[in-house]
């Protein structure tokens, strides 16, 4: 699944790379694996490198399984150092703001299902009341825009996923008709193409820095655009706007990703986060553990947002403002009858608990059961 990977070329076995994150800031330094020192020295070092000498910190790290584990004594500190291979990722939080529930098994890597996401999105306050099922704040799981499929594309091309989900930011770019030169057996040939013509400052496309004016658009979500009109490509992009994957031939070929010849283990990807390649790094992107975000499956329906269905009570009067709310995006805590409708894939057990079926009346509950049987989904009420 993880198609891109990168093995740092300058690694030395004796050193542990540390990437420490506090808020939106990163610090990178290295420790000697053989002489890690004591936890309180390490703690002081962190305060020093982040220049937060008087801040009480809660230190966590991501282990090989992707779990977020705490570091608060010498034992787990040494464990963390010894397990780091090769990078040790640290996540620092202010003690007073710390979210302890974030620690534990499966918290970081657990595959986020759309239903769970929708449930979290739809019922933020419900989550607060029930700490056991709290996963984390949704924004921590938001996949971010990234370059993907580096290993399968020619080096001159770049496949960019613009992850719009839940963001207020506009996609923010324009496309135009143009022509590009192709090498054919008959020689150079001018062919019509689609190009990015303008970026909206502050838009998603602009802020990722992954797309630029005059980049030629080759594919939209895996479908070639050659032979399609500007309007068709526009419509394709808009139809895929919730999860837009554009393959471009950048106008500026100097920043291309150079693949290392080593190859490495194919199942793992390293961080292909934008900051890694020296692009401008918006703060919002670095919150997320990087290795869960690059599963590019073009036909994967899980990426799709679901339609919202409001079922009115029988006999209930009209919601006076229901229509306006339904069209006004996803935040509607006052309406208990929203339920994500689970149409896309057989759900796993974890999502059931977060589906808000509690408000259904008995009649609907019965129906629910019946329909669930038909759909073969396993939902325990």
């Amino acid at each position: 699944m993880n198609k891109n990977h990168r093995v740092p070329s300058n690694r030395t076995l004796s050193a542990v790379e540390v990437k420490s994150k506090f808020g939106a800031e990163f610090r990178r330094f290295s420790l000697d694996r053989s002489k890690p020192g004591r936890f309180d020295e390490f703690y002081g070092l962190l305060q020093h490198v982040h220049r937060i000498p008087n801040v009480d910190l809660l230190v966590g790290y991501a282990d090989v399984h992707g779990d977020l584990l705490p570091i608060n004594n010498d034992d787990n500190y040494h464990k963390a150092i010894s397990m780091a291979a090769p990078l040790l990722r640290l996540f620092l939080q202010r003690k007073e703001e710390a979210d302890y529930s974030a620690f534990g098994t499966d918290t970081v890597t657990r595959k986020k299902t759309p239903a769970a996401l929708a449930a979290v999105l739809l019922r933020p306050d419900a989550n607060k009341k029930k700490p056991p099922i709290i996963i984390s704040l949704p924004k921590d799981f938001r996949p971010v825009s990234s370059i993907i499929d580096v290993d399968i594309l020619p080096e001159t091309h770049r496949r960019v996923r613009l992850y719009k989900h839940g963001q207020e930011k506009p996609l923010g770019f324009y496309i135009r008709d143009g022509s590009s030169v192709r090498v054919t057996p008959q020689g150079l040939e001018k062919v019509p193409g689609i190009f990015i013509s303008r970026m909206v400052p502050g838009g998603l496309a602009d802020s990722t820095g992954l797309l630029a004016v005059n980049d030629e658009v080759l594919e939209v979500n895996g479908i070639e655009v050659s032979g399609k009109s500007l309007d068709q490509v526009t419509d394709m992009m808009i139809a895929n706007s919730h999860n837009l994957i554009i393959t471009v031939k950048p106008a500026n070929q100097r920043n291309n990703v150079v693949r290392s010849s080593g190859g490495g283990s194919s199942g793992r990807s390293t961080d292909s986060n934008t900051s890694f390649y020296g692009y401008s790094t918006p703060g919002s992107m670095v919150m997320t553990p990087s290795h869960i975000i690059q599963n590019y499956e073009p036909d994967e329906e899980s990426e799709e947002e679901e339609d919202l269905v409001i079922e009115a009570d029988r006999g209930a009067k009209l919601f006076p403002q229901a229509g306006a709310r339904a069209t006004a995006s996803t935040s509607m805590p006052a309406l208990p009858r929203y339920e994500p409708h689970l149409d896309l894939r057989p759900s796993n057990g974890t999502m059931a608990s977060s589906v808000s079926v509690g408000s259904l009346n008995a009649c609907d509950r019965g129906l629910e059961g019946r329909n669930l049987e038909e759909e073969g989904t396993v939902i325990t009420l």
Partner: protein, 992 residues
């Protein structure tokens, strides 16, 4: 009509698809766009029209029609049938000549191009030498005389197009013999007209633009007589007796000359300027035909006094004491007269006039010269078409009632049968009675018989009478006040000026079982009408429905609501309005639905939707779908942004009004027109600058404009909230991808008048891709779409399967999505836009069946914005076949498309023409007709002077063919042989 036949490129292996689907463009209904030439063959009784886009269309008896298209994209400037043959010659703008024939094959004729020819002059000659300006198809059927701009006449043998250089008539040949002082001033200019002596085909009259006419002897290759006209020549007519010649001139006069043999003739016998004294416009064509009842008919076009009526399009008919100036609403292309008798040399029976926007046939034998209703070539666009609606399989009862109502409207038409009756219509009778309803900008709804090849007008409904409009009743072009000169009479129905654009019809729904009709218009008006065979005087009760429900900060800047006549209005027999809903704000009605069983009408605009109980005459539900921040919809930009077309129309209307009411002020108009033109130009320029060459890529959001616009409404009896009891329900889909469902409680039949209809909100679905919802269909337990209201009650459809779960199919512009009912959860979907970038523009449910199998299956028929037709299976929503149909640039064609219930469809290929297409193998309506060569007529009529007077024994037609055929190209010969064979078999059939 084979030309457009296009078979799908589907793989052979899927036989099922082949059995069910095939794509054909079958026939074009309506009036050809931009006609440019007219031809008529008296012997074939066929009419030919050439258009500016290079199409050639032939029409005979109703149902007999042929169409061809020149490969060159050039206008057809002249059409000439070869006398007494099945060939015709067309002259195009690019100076090429084309030979067409009607080839019979399997008792079906086809129009085929069999040759083309461009005149080649001597080397080094300027192009004007060979630029053809006049064509004479010689009555021998073997010669074509081509007059050119340079003044030469070239003789060409047909159908092979062989130049007979030795017979050419050069300018020099002609000029040699005329007086020096006449010719010296200028050259003769182009050959304006070529005419054959009706008594002696070896004599030809050549008319030059300059005014000179020369009578030429084809055999002796020399001029017989010169007529020294001094006015610019427009046309020439050789009278029946062969003795007299009429010439018409650019100064509005016509002259009569006598063929005396004395050369030269310097003065005409008689000179007339019919609309005299003040300068007149040219008489472009003049003809005179003898009549047994008194003096001959004199018919000419133009000649109007330049200053006062120079802009009128008139044909004057003078017979005995009757003199009428037929006043047409568009430019005259050409005209001819049909004559009675075996040889078509008898009494003039009908005048056929082709004007730019319609074909008008005037009955010359009935008192008052009434117009004969045309069975085809009807101007669909007499007022611009704004919407259309098709209803398949009309019950006979309703059909007859509509027909009867229409017959009462058509009393002013002549009772004479249609005079053009060439060819045989061999198409089988249409399998069912189909109605096409077109809504027009002037508030009329026209009912067309769309069952067969001829789109025949049945009935016209006008909704304008319900409202008070600012149309001035005195503002009438047809004021035929006594003693007016010239004696104008307005003919034709093409009237592109709408008095109030708010009257425009936007949506139509007819229930074929109950005869209830609902039409909705531009200013938020929804009329419910009922078919009544008697005239009735009634007041139409208006219900104003506020769709905003007290939204704050509202400011409607659009059009005002229409004012309703409060006094009773007399409605003629036909559809009579009895209820009126007026939406507030009065925005364009964007969706309607009629359920005649529940007696409910649902309607939607850009602000919301509601439904009305027309039994109890009260509105039941109002639902505002407007996003409060949607300023565009709030203020009504649809009417605020003035279209060029609209402003142009308004300007013209203003001009027309001022011209009609106060003629004295006409000096003002030129300045006004100039000012308007300048403004229009500026507007067009501005629009051009705004037109982006780039496209913004942005996800749809709830804040987009017009998300609340209601795109589709649907009544269904289904399981909305409960899987055990089905209930009536109303479904609405919006531009923002929302679907609203209401459960309705409709009282039982006995209590229908007392108990109220109640609606409860049941569901709302917000599609996350937010694309406009363009169609909603509920599928029954077997996956078939629910039947129409009353269909089951009339035993015309099987009852829907109420066991097993129903499904809701939501068609958005981007994808098809099937949901379970009553618990709405997505079952399957088909993405369109994400895959190929096309979007759904039109969608309909249609039934398909193979030719052999009785079994029918339902499918979705979809037209995309790329102009492609898709058939999508139900309930599995899989793409079955797709065919390119309309050019994607043809936005109005795509927008005008309407589907029938049986896999056919119509779309506008021009403002005045519907193209009919079929996706079905089983239901195809296309012309199937036979035209036979008229050769056998000729030996039967030995008295015909045409043959008698041939001087040196020209061989008979048959021998001639055989002798000449060797020289023809192969294809041409085959045609001729075929034609002969065909003819002989026909001949023996008749004689035995």
């Amino acid at each position: 009509m084979k030309r457009f036949r296009r078979h799908g490129h589907e793989s052979q292996r899927d036989k099922h698809k082949q059995d069910l689907y095939q794509f054909n463009k079958t026939v074009e209904h309506g009036f050809p766009h931009q006609p440019s030439a007219l031809g008529f063959s008296p012997s074939l009784q066929l009419l030919a029209i050439g258009t500016r886009s290079g199409a050639i269309k032939l029409y005979g008896a109703p149902g007999v029609e042929f169409m061809g298209l020149h490969d060159e994209n050039a206008a057809v400037t002249q059409v000439h049938f070869l006398p007494n043959q099945v060939e015709l010659v067309t002259l195009l703008d690019d100076n090429s000549l084309h030979m067409w024939t009607l080839r019979a094959h399997n008792s079906m004729s086809e129009l085929l191009e069999i040759g083309r020819f461009t005149l080649s002059g001597p080397p080094g000659a300027p192009p004007s030498v060979t630029r053809v300006t006049a064509v004479l198809a010689h009555s021998s059927g073997e010669l074509l005389l081509l007059g050119t701009e340079g003044g030469h006449v070239f003789v060409v043998e047909v159908p092979g197009f062989r130049e007979l250089e030795e017979n050419n008539i050069s300018v020099e040949d002609v000029q040699n013999r005329i007086p020096e002082d006449y010719v010296g001033r200028r050259n003769l200019e182009c050959v304006e007209t070529l005419h054959e002596n009706p008594l002696n085909p070896r004599q030809v009259l050549i008319g030059y633009s300059r005014g000179l006419m020369v009578l030429w002897d084809l055999d002796r290759q020399r001029p017989i007589q010169h007529f020294l006209g001094t006015q610019q020549l427009e046309s020439v007519w050789w009278m029946e007796d062969g003795e007299n010649i009429l010439s018409s001139h650019s100064d509005g006069s016509y002259c009569q000359w006598t063929v005396t043999g004395e050369d030269p003739q310097t003065e005409p016998e008689k000179q007339e300027m019919p609309y005299g004294s003040f300068p007149c416009k040219a008489i472009s064509k003049v003809i005179q035909l003898p009549s047994k009842q008194g003096p001959p008919f004199l018919i000419f076009s133009g000649g109007m006094p330049r200053a006062s009526y120079g802009d009128r399009h008139c044909i004057s008919v003078i017979h005995s004491k009757t003199h009428e100036a037929l006043d047409f609403t568009s430019r005259i292309i050409d005209f001819f007269v049909i004559r009675e008798g075996v040889n078509h040399r008898g009494e003039p029976s009908a005048l056929v006039v082709l004007v730019e926007e319609e074909l008008i046939v005037v009955d010359l034998q009935t008192e008052g010269w009434p117009v004969i209703q045309t069975p085809y070539l009807v101007p669909l666009h007499c007022s611009a078409i704004t919407c259309s609606h098709h209803v398949s399989s009309i019950p006979l009862k309703l059909w007859e009632r509509v027909q009867a109502a229409g017959a009462q409207q058509n009393t002013h038409y002549s009772k004479k049968p249609w005079p053009i009756n060439g060819g045989q219509n061999l198409a089988p009778d249409p399998p069912q009675r189909d109605l096409l309803l077109t809504g027009h900008e002037d508030g009329t709804v026209r009912f067309w018989d769309a069952s067969g090849v001829c789109l025949y007008p049945m009935y016209k409904l006008s909704t304008a009478g319900v409202f008070l409009t600012d149309a001035d009743p005195n503002d009438n072009m047809n004021q035929g006040s006594e003693g007016e000169w010239p004696p104008f009479r307005k003919v034709g129905c093409f009237d592109p000026y709408s008095d109030d654009p708010r009257l425009g019809i936007q949506k139509i729904h007819l229930c074929k079982y109950s005869g209830y009709l609902t039409v909705a218009g531009t200013a938020g008006q929804i009329l419910v009408l009922e078919l009544n065979d008697e005239a009735a005087e009634q007041t139409v009760e208006a219900t104003v429905v506020d769709l905003l429900q007290g939204q704050e900060g509202f400011r409607w800047k659009g059009q005002a609501r229409l004012d309703v006549r409060e006094e009773p209005v007399l409605f003629p027999p036909g559809f009579q309005p009895f209820a009126l809903v007026q939406c507030q704000p009065p925005a364009v009605v964007t969706a309607i639905a009629l359920h005649s069983e529940w007696k409910l009408v649902a309607f939607g605009t850009s602000h919301g939707f509601g439904f009305y109980d027309y039994h109890q005459r009260n509105n039941i539900l109002v639902k505002c779908t407007l996003n409060p921040s949607d300023q565009m919809a709030l203020e009504g930009p649809l009417s605020r942004v003035k279209s060029i077309k609209k402003s142009l129309r308004q300007s013209f209307r203003r001009i027309r009004r001022s011209r009609v009411s106060m003629r004295k002020h006409h000096t003002n108009n030129a300045a006004k027109l100039q000012e308007i033109n300048a403004r229009l130009e500026a507007e067009a320029l501005q629009e051009m600058e705004l037109a982006p060459v780039q496209r913004k890529i942005e996800a749809r959001s709830s804040d987009d404009s017009f998300t609340g616009l209601v795109r589709t409404l649907y009544f269904a009896d289904t399981f909305v909230s409960d899987s055990s009891h089905s209930t009536p329900s109303l479904w609405a889909g919006t531009n923002g991808g929302a679907v609203f469902a209401y459960v309705l409680r409709v009282p039982s039949l006995e209590r229908r008048a007392e108990d109220p209809v109640v609606a409860h909100a049941a569901k709302e679905i917000q599609l996350m891709h937010r694309a406009p919802v363009v169609g909603l269909v509920v599928l029954d337990g077997k996956g078939a779409p629910l039947p129409e209201p009353l269909e089951v009650a009339h035993d015309l459809a099987r009852s829907p399967e109420m066991h097993g779960s129903h499904h809701l199919l939501v068609v958005s512009e981007e994808q098809f999505k099937l949901f379970t009912l009553p618990k709405v959860s997505s079952k399957s979907k088909l993405k369109l836009t994400a895959v190929d970038g096309s979007r759904v523009r039109r969608v309909g449910v249609a039934w398909f069946g193979s030719r052999t199998d009785e079994q029918l299956e339902s499918s979705l028929v979809v037209l995309t914005n790329q102009g492609e037709l898709h058939v999508i299976s139900l309930p599995s929503i899989k793409m079955m076949v797709h065919y390119p149909c309309i050019r994607r640039e043809d936005v109005s064609g795509i927008a005008s498309c309407v589907f029938t219930k049986y896999g056919q469809g119509f779309y506008l290929i021009s403002p005045s023409e519907f193209e009919r297409f079929s996706l079905s193998t089983r239901w195809v309506v296309e012309p199937h007709c036979l035209v036979e060569a008229p050769l056998q007529m000729r030996p039967k009529n030995p008295s015909s002077p045409v043959h008698r007077d041939q001087p040196d024994g020209v061989p008979t037609e048959h021998r001639n063919f055989k002798r000449e055929s060797e020289g023809y190209e192969n294809s041409a010969r085959q045609v001729m042989e075929h034609a002969l064979l065909n003819d002989e078999s026909e001949y023996t059939r008749i004689s035995s």
